[in-house]
């Protein structure tokens, strides 16, 4: 099965999409309410980064991928629900806070 046209994905893009998929899969295992929160936060975070970060800044993208994978591992833990996962998925806001 070959993609029917449209942009070809680079290896890095595939990794990003795979991470996004991982987050959405992890969110499915949470309560409906938490799931919605996680999904909207994760979606906003990915879209914000997609807009802000230079697509050729591979080092930074790779760094974000590594960080995202760690956050995903935390989110996968059954103990992580609701608010804790929100902090986990939005470290950017934590950094900017004094």
């Amino acid at each position: 099965m070959a993609p029917s046209g449209g942009p070809r994905l680079s290896g890095l893009q595939k990794q990003v999409l795979s991470l996004y998929r991982g987050f959405l899969r992890a969110a499915r295992l949470k309560s409906l309410e938490d799931r919605k929160k996680i999904e909207s936060l994760v979606s906003a975070e990915f879209r914000r980064n997609a807009k802000q970060i230079d697509h050729k800044n591979f080092l930074h993208i790779e760094y974000l991928l590594r960080r995202g994978k760690k956050q995903l591992d935390q989110l996968k833990s059954p103990c992580t629900v609701g608010l804790s996962s929100i902090n986990v998925t939005l470290p950017q806001t934590q950094h900017t806070r004094p």
């Binding site: 099965m1 046209g5 449209g6 595939k14 999409l17 996004y20 998929r21 979606s43 990915f46």
Partner: protein
């Protein structure tokens, strides 16, 4: 006579185990139906029309999509103006609709309604 009595006493034990094994047969029965499900052909499987209908209705219900633009031939990104993240979300929504898990390698390739329909129609575990 003593021998017969002794024998009968022993016979009782195997008879008990026999009824037990007969009881246990109930389990493999349900198991075999799940195995059968694995090998099911398209006879008791989804028809192509059903797959098309359900794929289209999932795509139409996606918030960013104008339902009137959706047809079996549309390409998610070229025709519906979605990005690659939306594409991931749609494929995930289809996974849930058909109770499938689509591996990353396959999911990355599904970028149009047609490919989604083909993939799901050919998937042996797609749920009715």
């Amino acid at each position: 006579m003593a021998l017969r009595a002794a024998l009968l006493r022993h016979v009782r034990v195997p008879v008990q185990t026999l009824t037990q094994t007969a009881h246990r047969h109930g389990h493999p029965f349900s198991l075999s139906t799940t195995i059968l499900r694995f090998m099911s052909s398209h006879d008791d499987h989804l028809t192509k029309e059903e797959v098309i209908d359900r794929v289209l209705s999932v795509v139409k219900s996606f918030p960013k999509i104008d339902p009137s633009k959706v047809s079996p031939d549309v390409h998610f990104q070229n025709d519906l103006g979605l990005d690659s993240l939306d594409n991931v979300e749609i494929v995930m929504a289809l996974e849930e609709e058909f109770k499938l898990e689509i591996p990353d390698k396959e999911a990355d390739k599904i970028d149009s309604c047609n490919l989604a329909i083909e993939y799901i129609y050919n998937h042996p575990m797609a749920e009715i």
